[in-house]
């Protein structure tokens, strides 16, 4: 029997001709020509349009809806309210596990946040449904809402993020602070933020008896299917979700949102296909956001600038009715060496929609505060901030003592610093000016993001025509899964990319897991890799058992799959094509499945993190306070790079997100009504091209034998971390003003 195990297979050790190539997006042409079909582009026959009416108060009850007026509007077919919504088999308020979030599916007249769906109007046209929703003219009984972090009673949540402990204490922080030569304490604030994917949540739902077909963007189709099955009391196999393209997700399409289910309910109610697409403004409520945070950091350092203590305390919020706690303090777990580390969380409950995973949940705000605080500590020690970081380099994970599975952070610092010209940085703030008199500042931040693995399954087929098929219900939300996973697929089955049909983006394919946690390429890629290895093994079995094959009896030497042929590992001149093997065996195809999952033993032994170093230059007008990031260099080490073009684009996107976090993004909440008052992209600022004159990334090589068979870490979120702090630190270096409130706006720099 051939031994083709995941880590031994030379196909994968050497990696074939596909992995590592900077291919352009396979779906690029479809996208730039408008041919890529997003959920809302589907218009099945008999389609009706649904529009949600959302609450304009944040807490109270709906006491009146003018259903008659809406129904009387020409074109309106039905108004769905708590009174007539279809019965559900599952309770939308049930919480069987922490990853099931409570949904607002018109279960009562209660209003728990502004923007909550309170009714749905279904009509022949979008316009009629829109007007119908206006005509409902809801009236409320409302109570004053809790809106800000000071409005609620604090408590320690039982868990934060996806189930991490709210508190972790390693060593004695108080003793460390007492023994410190220098200590600082600083409090940083980050605002509520909304995901704002380009494509708003949309669903086109069709029922055929108790079978349901829906087009809707999903970062996790199998989970969405299970949720729908439970809510509607039908077997998951009866549900088909198509999600070939997502116009961005960033976490708000990770788990099914309420409005998506409402579209399905409406289709059931009216017995016709229904399309529901949220407006931009309607994304500010029922589909998640990032909680505001207030983070207090206490750091101590000895005379050599080595940390003696690091305490990171986060106050954040969840909704009044459900739990998601932004795990910001956990950004301090694995980054800097310190004999004493405490990461603590407290929460308040606010009258808002439930916060949700949002790109780099925890790490984004946590890193912003940590990297600022580390800079303040470096300043207190009189040290260059990069030198300070190097003195506190964690050789092992500080809180556990585990070695890192791989860590090329030193290389990231060195390469980034060199590219940026960091060594010319004067220590004192407010000491650089450009030729026009603008203040110039340079800052650094360390990037870190855990290398996670979830679970996924894939199926691989090799056919007698010499081609192959690889199937996985994976999700392309713009990051390039169609391309990168297809590259892995081609190498997995030992074929040229052109010869492999890669099928994805649909729930009738093997469960591709969740596209989140920066783990999709690693997880789905591992599943594909193992399915490929397994199908190649089948083929090899056939060949090696057949005395007419040149591979007969290869036995323990094993075979290598490449370019549609199996080669003897010990003698590559002896080989046979896939087609011949199957031809002789009289088989049309061979098929196998494979799984991707974390290796629990390796996870226990090693700390697994991707790292990076981000260097920022900002210019600040000394009188007017306006800030511009003029240079950004990020050097990242994240294991094996499947497609450098896609990866660079992820790093760019992350770094731009970091600029946004540092200087632009915030939901401006009306403290009285609990409503975000800038719920559109004219008011909710993200950077424009003019805000990003120069971006550069460096891919630092890193081989990781432990994270997974392919050595892949994640790249989707890490770019945000480090960047926010680097910019904040650069603003301080430019101006001498330490702004501890994000975003850093010009009024805070006026002096």
């Amino acid at each position: 029997m051939p031994e083709i195990t995941l880590t031994q297979d030379p196909v994968h050790l050497r990696h074939g001709s596909n992995i590592g190539r900077p291919l352009t997006r396979r779906d690029g042409l479809l996208k730039v020509t408008g041919a890529a079909r997003y959920a809302a582009d589907n218009n099945p026959k008999g389609l009706l349009h649904a529009v949600v009416a959302v609450s304009t108060v944040a807490r109270g009850r709906v006491v009146a809806l003018d259903v008659e007026a809406a129904m009387a509007h020409p074109g309106v077919v039905e108004v769905m309210t708590p009174a007539n919504r279809p019965a559900l088999a599952g309770d939308p308020d049930a919480k069987p596990n922490p990853l099931v979030f409570r949904l607002d599916l018109l279960q009562s007249d209660r209003v728990r946040y502004a923007g909550q769906p309170i009714a749905l109007v279904v009509a022949e046209t979008l316009e009629a449904a829109t007007e119908g929703a206006v005509l409902l003219a809801p009236r409320y009984e409302s109570e004053p809402p809790a809106v800000g972090l000071d409005d609620g009673e604090r408590f320690v949540p039982t868990a934060v993020g996806p189930g991490a402990p709210a508190e972790l204490r390693h060593g004695d922080v108080e003793a460390g602070l007492a023994a410190a030569a220098q200590a600082i304490e600083a409090t940083y604030e980050t605002p509520p933020q909304y995901h704002n994917p380009m494509e708003p949540h949309a669903v086109v739902a069709r029922w055929d008896g108790d079978r349901l077909t829906l087009d809707t963007p999903s970062q996790a189709m199998a989970m969405a299917r299970l949720r729908l099955a439970a809510l509607f009391g039908i077997p998951p196999e009866n549900i088909l979700i198509r999600s070939p393209f997502l116009g961005g997700g960033f976490g708000c399409k990770g788990l099914l949102s309420g409005p998506q289910v409402l579209g399905v309910m409406a289709a059931r109610l009216v017995g016709r296909p229904v399309k529901l697409a949220l407006t931009r403004a309607q994304l500010y409520g029922p589909v998640g956001h990032r909680s505001p945070t207030r983070q207090r950091l206490r750091l101590g350092a000895d005379g050599e600038g080595r940390l003696t203590a690091l305490e990171h305390h986060t106050l954040m919020s969840s909704s009044r009715f459900d739990e998601f706690f932004e795990p910001a303090s956990n950004a301090s777990h694995a980054l800097y060496a310190s004999p004493a580390i405490a990461t603590l969380h407290e929460a308040v409950r606010l009258d808002c929609g439930t916060p949700m995973f949002m790109r780099a949940p925890g790490e984004a705000p946590g890193s912003a505060a940590l990297e600022s605080a580390v800079d303040e500590m470096a300043e207190a020690c009189g040290l260059d901030p990069l030198e300070f970081r190097l003195r506190n380099y964690a050789e092992v994970e500080p809180t556990t003592g585990r070695p890192f599975s791989s860590k090329a952070l030193r290389e990231c610092y060195a390469r980034g610093a060199e590219r940026f010209g960091w060594e010319r940085r004067p220590l004192a703030p407010r000491s650089l000016r450009d030729e026009h008199g603008l203040l110039v500042g340079w800052g650094v931040g360390t990037a870190i993001f855990p290398a996670l693995m979830f679970e996924a399954e894939a199926r691989a087929v090799i056919r007698r025509d010499g081609g192959g098929t690889v199937e996985i219900g994976a999700c392309d939300m713009g990051q390039g899964a169609w391309t990168a996973l297809a590259q892995i697929a081609a190498d997995a089955v030992g074929l040229d990319g052109e010869r492999v049909e890669f099928r994805s983006g649909s729930s009738d394919l093997p469960d591709g897991g969740i596209a989140g946690g920066s783990a999709h390429t690693a997880t789905a890629g591992s599943a594909i890799h193992s399915a490929g290895a397994a199908v190649v093994a089948r083929l090899a079995e056939l060949a090696m058992a057949d005395e007419r094959s040149p591979l007969f009896g290869a036995g323990n030497a094993g075979v290598v799959a490449r370019d549609g042929r199996l080669h003897r590992r010990d003698d590559e001149s002896r080989s046979e094509g896939y087609a011949e093997i199957l031809e002789r065996a009289g088989l049309a195809e061979v098929e196998a499945r494979g799984k991707g999952a974390m290796d629990a033993a390796a996870q226990q032994r090693y700390a697994m993190q991707a790292h990076g170093a981000v260097f920022a230059e900002v210019k600040v007008d000394p009188d007017l306070g306006q800030v511009r990031v003029t240079r950004l260099v990020g050097a990242f080490a994240a294991g094996r790079i499947i497609n450098p073009r896609m990866v660079v684009s992820q790093y760019y996107g992350g770094m731009i997100w970091g600029v946004s976090f540092a200087l632009h993004e915030q939901a401006v909440m009306d403290r009285r009504s609990g409503r975000p008052m800038n719920a559109d992209l004219a008011g909710y600022h993200i950077p424009v091209n003019a805000d990003l004159p120069a971006l550069e990334t460096i891919l630092v090589e890193e081989e990781d034998p432990h994270v997974n068979a392919l050595g892949i870490k994640g790249v989707g979120e890490i770019g945000i971390t480090g960047t926010v702090g680097a910019i904040a630190n650069a603003v301080w270096h430019a101006t001498g003003v330490r702004v501890r409130q994000f975003p850093i706006t010009l009024d805070r720099l006026l002096g």
Partner: protein, 352 residues
């Protein structure tokens, strides 16, 4: 959708007649009106589409040396008219600092003048707003005040006029040509927009159905072309409304300021002309001292309705800087980052 009439008149007279009834609104580029209709903040019963009226899209020389700009000239076309940009560089710069290229291609001169405030509570039909629903109150009071006025506001309304274009127009004594059923009239720019008073819903001097047909720039305005700038302080480098802006223009004679013009944006319900500052500068040698005093004078009456007092000092600094930039001279072409503090100023260190 709420049903409304849509008419496309063939002549100005037809347009004016069609818009005479209350509830009728003119539609030009639609970049502002349609957004407000979508949010429900505007719900006209009749749209009178003037975008194709003949004859209103021309830039013409006037016999007295002035310039007449038709109300339908697109913002982009005006800014990129090289003759116009040479004669009125601060106006071209202001236009190009506004919105985005796509919006400037669609937006018209008339629509820009008549654009509504960006006050978030105004745009939100669920909020009380005296400007949108007279007498309903003002929910902006007590809300985030970054966009609110520091000059000319009262308890009834604290909104600001968001236009960039209008700021140098105010500084340069533009004149608005208006056609109504009673015929044509001309209004000084200064008198065109109104402060809230007790009727914040009346934003301009226009009566129902009156149509802006053109803008006139007087012959004298061109005399500032060598030293005229617009400066716009904003929360991102492009595609953002001004937090505060200033248009400054100087006519220099023998090392002295013969005549100065200064107007501020983002600080009041109308583009804010600063006659006190102008008077203070006239006849003086230009320089930081004079500019600072002018800026102080311009903001002498300012007060903050909320926690936006920073805008008062910011407006002073913006005014002083705009004057400094004007003194440094109009650049040969509009900078790639128009009106931005990050636009390089050749040969001059303008920062403190």
């Amino acid at each position: 959708m709420k049903r409304f009439d849509y008419v496309r008149p063939a002549t100005v007279a037809e347009a004016v007649a069609a818009a005479a009834e209350p509830g009728a609104a003119y539609l030009a580029g639609g970049t502002n009106l349609l957004d407000l209709m979508k949010s429900g903040a505007a719900a006209p019963g009749r749209l009178v589409d003037v975008s194709r009226l003949p004859g209103l899209d021309r830039i013409e020389e006037l016999p007295d040396g002035g310039l007449r700009i038709g109300a339908l000239v697109r913002n982009a076309d005006l800014a990129h008219d090289s003759d116009f940009a040479r004669r009125f560089p601060a106006i071209a710069e202001a236009l190009l600092s506004g919105a985005s290229a796509q919006l400037r291609n669609a937006a018209t001169v008339g629509g820009n003048l008549l654009q509504r405030t960006r006050c978030a509570w105004f745009a939100d039909p669920a909020s009380a707003c005296n400007r949108r629903a007279p007498g309903s109150g003002c929910d902006a009071r007590g809300g985030d005040s970054r966009q609110q006025a520091v000059l000319g506001w009262n308890e009834a309304c604290v909104a600001t006029h968001p236009s960039d274009f209008c700021v140098p127009l105010a500084a340069l004594d533009a004149v608005v040509e208006i056609e109504g059923r009673a015929g044509r009239r001309a209004v000084a720019f200064e008198d065109f927009h109104r402060l809230p008073g007790q009727t914040p819903e009346r934003e301009t001097t226009l009566a129902q159905g009156e149509l802006v047909v053109a803008l006139r720039l007087p012959a004298g305005a061109e005399a500032f072309s060598a030293n005229a700038r617009y400066l716009k302080v904003r929360e991102r480098t492009s595609f953002a409304f001004a937090v505060v802006s200033a248009a400054a223009a100087l006519r220099l004679e023998g090392g002295r300021i013969a005549e100065a013009r200064l107007a501020l944006g983002g600080v009041a319900a109308k583009p804010w002309r600063c006659p006190e500052a102008e008077a203070l500068l006239a006849g003086r040698p230009p320089g930081p001292e004079a500019f600072r005093q002018a800026a102080e004078a311009a903001l002498a009456e300012a007060r903050a309705p909320g926690d936006n007092a920073f805008k008062i000092e910011l407006a002073r600094r913006t005014a002083a800087r705009a004057l400094t930039l004007a003194l440094a001279g109009t650049p040969a072409r509009v900078p790639a980052l128009p009106a931005s503090p990050f636009a390089p100023v050749p040969g001059a260190l303008v920062h403190a």
